[in-house]
């Protein structure tokens, strides 16, 4: 019985909850997926997802709600954490274009450029190549951050747009520029949730 928590302070939380439930069902794993807002809900957690949203807001509320330090600690202890878009920013070691107040988990050895793709008019959909599948994945990029540098050997590319890396994995951690939760395709969620077994 796995217990998946989606950090539910701001952003597309419901979409990740639905995608995770579908992924668990496809994998034939029994488990629950919770809307995670408080540190005490982290007890017994098997996997954590940080959704898309506004990274300045999510950062501020994670600090305010006392979630930043406990989630970082769990990440260091090996609990699987996946971040999409704003969630990728929250996971990253280095962030270009952050506001002075912003705090991050600094778990994933990447440098990202926040809002590197530009404004909403530059948001786009395009097929992505995944390391663990032969079929293209529908990539949805919304005011996305860009992975500009891999900072260690530990971090491995798992998703490409053309020849550019748009998703990475580092042991228990996954960071994606795009939003698998906005599609019907659960391959990425399934790949992530297998880490929780």
């Amino acid at each position: 019985m796995v217990r998946v928590g989606v950090i539910g302070l701001q952003g597309d939380v419901g979409e990740h909850i639905e995608a995770s439930k579908r992924a668990l069902e496809n994998l034939g794993i029994s488990g629950e997926v919770i809307w995670l807002r408080k540190p005490r809900q982290l007890e017994g957690i098997s996997a954590i997802i940080i959704p898309g949203g506004e990274s300045t807001t999510i950062s501020r509320l994670m600090v305010k709600n006392g979630l930043l330090e406990p989630v970082r600690k769990l990440g260091e202890e090996g609990i699987p954490i996946m971040g999409t878009c704003a969630g990728l920013i929250m996971l990253s070691k280095e962030v270009i274009g952050a506001t002075p107040e912003q705090r991050f988990l600094e778990l994933l050895d990447v440098k990202v450029n926040r809002n590197a793709y530009g404004r909403q008019v530059d948001s786009f959909e395009a097929p992505i190549k995944l390391a663990f599948s032969d079929e293209p994945f529908p990539g949805v990029f919304i005011r996305a951050p860009r992975i500009v540098e891999l900072l260690s050997e530990r971090v491995k590319p798992i998703a490409w747009l053309g020849d550019r890396v748009v998703g990475v994995e580092q042991g228990n951690l996954i960071g994606l520029e795009f939003h698998p939760e906005l599609t019907e395709d659960t391959r990425v969620h399934e790949y992530f949730l297998k880490k929780a077994l």
Partner: protein, 335 residues
């Protein structure tokens, strides 16, 4: 052509509605300059609405309220890293094209500004920038969604600091959705026909001027290239989705009259996805504190003890107005 070829699609429905999903659980604040925009960003706003005047000042100033000056919107876009929205007059396609070219992240086709078209709203499907529109009830909401709005908000009564109209609009919407869920699909189709009637106003007026009976031809375009039947079918499809989901198929925020953290929490308790705050922040005595408090109230809407703490020492909220004493009812614009 390979299956991994990078072919980018922009301005799709998924990208427009997806953008709206990214602001869920957040507060969008009206700002009139770079300094206010920075206050909003630091307080944790998910986005700012760039305006020439906040609604309370639009009421005071009177006259025609238009799209904000371009240099003002640009100043705000340059000042913050969060998304920037801006308002256009109802039906003003040219203002909307200008804002799209400028690169604002979302356009609010808003009753707060003076309407430019007495018959129609913008056909928002023609744009790649997403739109948010106000509604007072399910009919307005479904019409705006059919026209391509990627996000909804209550109209409330902007600039009053009075939450009563926003509550009215949520109640009307939710009760109507429950009613739809108890109907057969055939009955829902009847509702779609009723909801499509406002699109006939121009055609009927032209008939009246010409001394003809109030009826339109089956193949006659009444809104853009759409016939009345096209519109009914379109609204019916959306209503069936509403029936299935038990809610609107797009993100739905509260707006119009939110003045305190408690107002924001109330709207979240009523099932809204987030909150727009117009005059409520920068017409309060301590905008920094009020902004932070409202952001936190949206986050802790179901925790009264936390709300009590949040609501402490935040200064005076904006001065409020009673709805029956108003000279202009903004919510009545654009059906």
């Amino acid at each position: 052509m390979g299956k991994f070829d990078v072919i980018e699609a922009k301005g799709t429905e998924r990208l427009k509605r997806g953008f709206a999903k990214m602001v869920k659980g957040g507060v969008i604040m009206d700002v009139t300059n770079a300094e206010q925009a920075r206050v909003a960003e630091e307080a944790g706003a998910v986005s700012v609405m760039a305006l020439h005047r906040v609604p309370a000042d639009i009421r005071k100033a009177g006259g025609v309220a238009r799209m904000a000056p371009i240099e003002k919107i640009q100043e705000i876009m340059d000042a913050v890293t969060i998304p920037v929205m801006a308002k256009v007059r109802i039906g003003h396609v040219a203002e909307a094209r200008i804002l799209e070219a400028l690169g604002v992240d979302m356009i609010d086709e808003s009753e707060v500004l003076t309407p430019s078209d007495p018959y129609f709203h913008i056909d928002k499907r023609e744009f790649s920038v997403p739109f948010v529109c106000g509604n007072r009830n399910l009919g307005e909401a479904v019409r705006r969604i059919w026209e391509g709005a990627a996000m909804m908000r209550t109209k409330g009564e902007a600039g009053t600091g009075n939450i009563v109209e926003a509550v009215r609009h949520v109640r009307l919407l939710k009760d109507n959705i429950s009613l739809i869920q108890r109907m057969t699909d055939e009955q829902v189709y009847g509702v779609a026909e009723k909801f499509a009637e406002p699109y006939l106003r121009l055609a009927f007026e032209v008939r009246e001027i010409s001394g003809l009976p109030k009826q339109v031809l089956e193949n006659e375009p009444v809104y853009g290239h759409y016939t009345y039947r096209d519109i009914v079918e379109g609204l019916y499809k959306i209503l069936l989705e509403v029936k299935k989901l038990g809610r609107l198929p797009v993100v739905n925020f509260a707006a119009g009259g939110v003045a305190t953290p408690a107002d924001a929490a109330l709207m979240m308790q009523m099932g809204m996805d987030g909150v727009f705050v117009g005059s409520g922040i920068f017409k309060s005595s301590n905008p920094e504190k009020m902004a932070r408090a409202i952001v936190e109230a949206v986050n802790h809407w179901d925790e009264p003890d936390v709300l009590a703490e949040i609501s402490r020492e935040i200064g005076e909220p904006m001065h409020g107005q009673e709805i029956d004493k108003l000279e202009v009812r903004l919510e009545e614009r654009g059906v």
